[in-house]
């Protein structure tokens, strides 16, 4: 598919991500910042609909979240920052300009490290800045007439824009970068990571590098709303660019869109309105002075970032990388896990991890609860794991206790008592039980010599005979010892 000229051209990829901030109110007014599923134009006021005479007022929480994000992304925080007007016209932009940041953004020169097949990769970030989101357009057509409906509920919602250097070298790298970026933003509580709803959006820019090392023509692909589409769109586009160059043709510097169903990028021939944004400093808003104290306070509140926490989970708790990654995907879950470990006492944390990532998440999902909520407290989980590990109850009983605690809010001990789940662990009782089962199953006992797996069948019978109360582990060792003695006989 690619001609000689197209081969060996290395992709050069950069990402531009827009993330909505989890503030309660909008960037410049007190309207609610939630908009999905809301009736049209119900979260709107004079300010966010651009009425004559309205004025913006900066939301403090949005600035704090932007600084947090910039810190988490290893940026230098600007001591002085300001807003600027970005001038262009579109129906979803009520003032005819967007209040954004141009030459003095909140954060610059950052870095995002991420994992790719066991290796740590790094991508530099150019900047992190604050801006306001636009309204929403719904395109419709009726008997040949095309029109659009405009809803300003989303207009004015605070956004941060994160721009990377073109350091990424493959579609997979771009995907991993985006995954890690999302994890961090969710972890520090500034974004909800919802790609489908558009609270997190990515544009990519990609070119293929000529053998002499210079960059080729850059193409931008806008509004990719899943990890998969980021990767697929880049794969397609890189092939396309190589093919074009391979044919000896020139690439156009343009913006393209990704068509999810057809899996192709297409040129978006926008109207020939020059993008001269005529930026100038926003006269309605005094500049920001981000003092050392304020930034330090925010930096402290930042605590541990997901990648560091993941490493610590592996080192400190001996977790497998996969498990550690799963647990640090969500800050609430990570906190929950650690609290359960602490409550479990002298138990191998990876046992706790197995429970948390397995049955606990299942039960939470079933009752539609989040980790850290009142329904299934972490300390209860820790207690249950401890009971199982000590042999007080069986693993199966443990699951029962888990589900019951979630339903009734009793403590694990109460449930064990009430449902009489304590395992039989008394050695003499177990020996009696073992002997009685062995007596009743002479043929299996005979078969043991040739087929050691018979042990499991015998253990199973003994557990049933005990009404599932006998500790399988203890029972097994007792029976095994007996069988071997019989064997010797």
């Amino acid at each position: 598919m690619t001609g000689v000229q197209g081969q060996g051209l290395e992709p050069v990829i950069g990402l531009e991500v827009h993330a909505q901030l989890l503030t309660r109110s909008k960037m410049f007014c007190g309207c609610s910042a939630t908009y999905s599923g809301t009736p049209p134009n119900t979260h709107v006021c004079a300010v966010c609909s651009g009425m004559p005479g309205a004025l913006p007022v900066i939301n403090r929480a949005a600035v704090d979240m932007a600084v947090l994000a910039a810190l988490a992304l290893n940026c230098r925080i600007a001591e002085q920052s300001k807003f600027d007007r970005k001038n262009y016209s579109y129906p979803d932009l009520p003032k005819g300009y967007q209040i954004s940041q141009y030459d003095m953004p909140i954060g610059i020169e950052g870095r995002l490290n991420f994992d790719l097949a066991g290796e740590t990769r790094s991508c530099r970030l150019v900047r992190v800045h604050l801006e306001e989101d636009t309204g929403k357009l719904i395109h419709a057509a009726e008997s040949g007439r095309e029109y659009s409906l405009v809803d300003y509920n989303r207009s004015g919602v605070p956004l941060i824009e994160i721009v990377s250097e073109p350091d990424l070298r493959s579609p997979e790298e771009a995907r991993r970068f985006f995954v890690e970026l999302r994890r961090i933003l969710m972890f520090i509580g500034v974004n909800d990571g919802n790609l489908q709803e558009g609270s997190l959006r990515a544009d990519v820019n990609v070119s293929v590098r000529r053998p002499d090392g210079s960059f080729g023509t850059k193409v931008e692909i806008k509004n990719l709303n899943s990890f998969r589409s980021v990767q697929r769109a880049l794969e397609y586009e890189i092939d396309r660019q190589r093919a074009v160059l391979g044919r000896g043709e020139l690439l156009e510097q343009e913006t393209r869109g990704w068509l999810e169903d057809e899996e192709v990028t297409v040129s978006q021939r926008t109207k020939e309105h020059a993008h001269d944004y005529r930026y100038f400093p926003e006269p309605d808003l005094p500049p920001l002075l981000l003092t050392g104290e304020r930034v330090s306070a925010l930096r402290e509140s930042l605590a541990e970032l997901p990648a560091d926490r993941e490493k610590r989970f592996i080192a400190e708790y001996g977790l497998r990388p996969q498990t550690a990654s799963l647990l640090t995907d969500d800050r609430l879950l990570a906190d929950y896990f650690e609290e359960a470990v602490s409550a479990a006492g002298p138990v191998d944390p990876s046992r706790v991890a197995n429970w948390v990532t397995g049955d606990v998440l299942r039960v939470l999902h079933e009752i539609d609860a989040a980790p850290g909520g009142p329904q299934l407290p972490a300390r209860s989980v820790g207690a249950i794991v401890s009971l199982v590990e000590r042999g007080t109850i069986s693993g199966a009983a443990g699951k029962t206790v888990l589900e019951t605690v979630a339903a009734t809010h009793e403590s694990p001990d109460e449930v064990v008592r009430r449902l009489n789940l304590a395992q039989l662990v008394d050695p003499r009782a177990l020996e009696e039980l073992a002997e009685s089962v062995l007596r009743e199953n002479p043929r299996l006992v005979q078969a043991f010599a040739k087929n050691p797996r018979v042990l499991e069948a015998l253990v199973g019978k003994a557990i049933s005979a005990s009404g599932s109360k006998a500790s399988p582990a203890l029972l097994r060792s007792i029976m095994e010892e007996r069988l071997q003695r019989a064997d010797v006989r």
Binding site: H273, R278, Y279
Partner: protein, 491 residues
């Protein structure tokens, strides 16, 4: 008793209301009658809100009967049609907002309402506050009550003419490059531009965001202090308002000015200033010396650059502020075959020539490749203009200057030459550039037409400026001059 209330100050009217010699309803009817009688000729009002005014006057009378209320309770006023008034059309003198009805009121409007003032109507103005003669209203020009063939000044020409002709006890105007002070000067009234940030801009339809200020046009300096007292103050809805406390402006009036140091910028006395105007200003200087103040000359070389900086910065900000007038959410909408045509047609039909001029000028100054040479350069020169004024205020407590280089010019005289019109703002724009406060007080007549004396003060020092103006007014009595309106009487 019919026209007894004409040309009275707020203070005078307040006394009459307090002693119940007259009711607010009677007073309001007096003003409405005068509007009926004179405004067909003068054109100061775009909308007269007679029913609302009477309702408000009735409320005011009830308050006054209980012995409640303040200095503005029951006093009839007019508001420049650039201030948002909930439920009432706010046109900004433009076709593009001819039928626009705001769903909220400006902070200053709410404050005056709470103070019990009575709204007579919305006044005529240069379209979107862009003009110095009120010839650029989309609806009709305003005529100077002193000579109907002459301009009242602009852009608050309607407000100034209304107060000048006794068709309102006071009015609010706005000042971006002189639009309160200059019409006050040309109509023989008092006009105050407060320090930038002293009065809230929330609800003021924006022209140039870093320069616009709302201020009073009144018949006396005391009246200006009374109105400022009500409208000044920090507003959480306007991020550019000053947090500074609002002093008692009225109490500060009577301190006298003995020993006060007044400066006279020599660059203001150059070519372009008419001899008649110069004579009044020199006479004013003598009056100040008689009152015990010192008056010394000072050089402000950057005065020459004021117009250039103003006519780069204000159009640039205006370009952005007027981008929202596109036929989508409010105002005139002239549909085209697609959204882009709708934008272009709407704005072509809705904006007048002066507005188009300024939008284009602004866009040019900000466009790629020109930003550094124009906009950035202008903002830097602005720093120098401001610094120069700040230095002057280290030596002086206030500066004296003419407000306008000439008396009111004839309608049509400058309208064809935009640059000539712009150059007449030379004395007023420095205060807007630097953010300082400026007052224009009547300084007598030249060729039978009013001349205004400008008093410039430090940022947030309206008290001194008002004190100086008050002393001058008391000593000279020029504020009591009034136009002869007999030529306007209906046939």
């Amino acid at each position: 008793m019919e026209y007894d209330t004409a040309f009275k100050t707020i203070s005078d009217l307040g006394r009459l209301l307090a002693t119940r010699e007259i009711s607010s309803v009677e007073l309001t009817h007096d003003y409405l009658r005068r509007i009926e009688q004179y405004d067909r000729r003068i054109g100061a009002y775009l909308a007269v809100t007679a029913d609302l005014a009477v309702d408000q006057a009735e409320c005011a009378d009830r308050l006054l009967a209980r012995g409640e209320g303040g200095p503005l309770t029951g006093i009839p006023m007019a508001l420049k049609d650039i201030l948002s008034t909930r439920g009432l059309p706010t046109t900004c003198g433009s076709r593009i907002l001819e039928k626009y009805i705001p769903q909220y009121s400006a902070t200053v409007v709410e404050k005056l309402e709470r103070a019990g003032a009575v709204l007579l109507g919305k006044t005529n103005m240069d379209e979107f506050a862009m003009g110095s003669s009120n010839e650029h209203s989309a609806f009709r020009p305003v005529r100077n009550p002193w000579d109907f063939d002459r301009v009242p000044g602009g852009s608050s020409g309607g407000s100034a003419a209304a107060v000048s002709a006794g068709m309102a006890a006071f009015a609010l105007g706005t000042d971006t490059g002189g639009s309160i002070r200059q019409p006050a000067s040309l109509t023989g009234t008092v006009g105050l531009k407060p320090t930038y940030g002293r009065v809230s801009r929330y609800g003021l339809v924006a022209f140039a965001s870093s320069l616009d200020q709302v201020g009073p046009i009144t018949r006396s300096v005391r009246d200006a202090a009374l109105v400022l007292q009500v409208i000044a103050g920090w507003d959480p809805r306007d991020s550019t308002t000053a947090r500074a406390d609002v002093p008692d402006y009225v109490a500060a009036l009577d301190g006298g000015i003995r020993g006060l140091r007044l400066g006279l910028p020599i660059e203001y006395f150059g070519e372009g200033m008419s001899p008649g105007v110069e004579a009044r200003i020199r006479s004013a200087v003598d009056a100040f010396r008689d009152l015990g103040a010192t008056v010394e000359e000072i050089s402000l070389p950057h005065t020459h650059y004021g117009i250039s900086t103003y006519y780069v910065i204000s159009p640039a900000e205006a370009m952005a502020n007027l981008a929202r007038y596109d036929g989508v959410r409010f105002g005139l909408s002239s549909a085209g075959c697609d959204i882009w045509e709708t934008y272009a047609n709407t704005r072509q039909a809705g904006f007048g020539r002066e507005v188009k001029r300024r939008i284009l000028l602004g866009a040019y100054a900000l466009s790629a490749g020109y930003y550094d040479a124009y906009y950035l350069k202008a903002q830097k020169v602005r720093t120098l203009v401001k610094a120069e004024l700040d230095r002057a205020f280290q030596r002086f407590d206030a500066l004296l200057a003419p407000t306008s280089p000439t008396v009111a010019f004839k309608i049509g005289e400058k309208a064809g030459d935009p640059l000539q019109m712009y150059l007449s703002d030379v004395y007023t724009v420095p205060a807007n550039m630097a953010g300082n406060t400026g007052l224009s007080v009547p300084a007598g007549l030249s060729e039978g037409l009013p001349v205004g004396l400008q008093i410039l003060g430090r940022q947030l020092d309206e008290a001194t400026v008002l004190r100086v103006g008050h002393a001058f007014e008391e000593a000279t009595g020029y504020s009591a001059d009034r136009p002869d309106l007999s030529a306007a009487a209906p046939a």
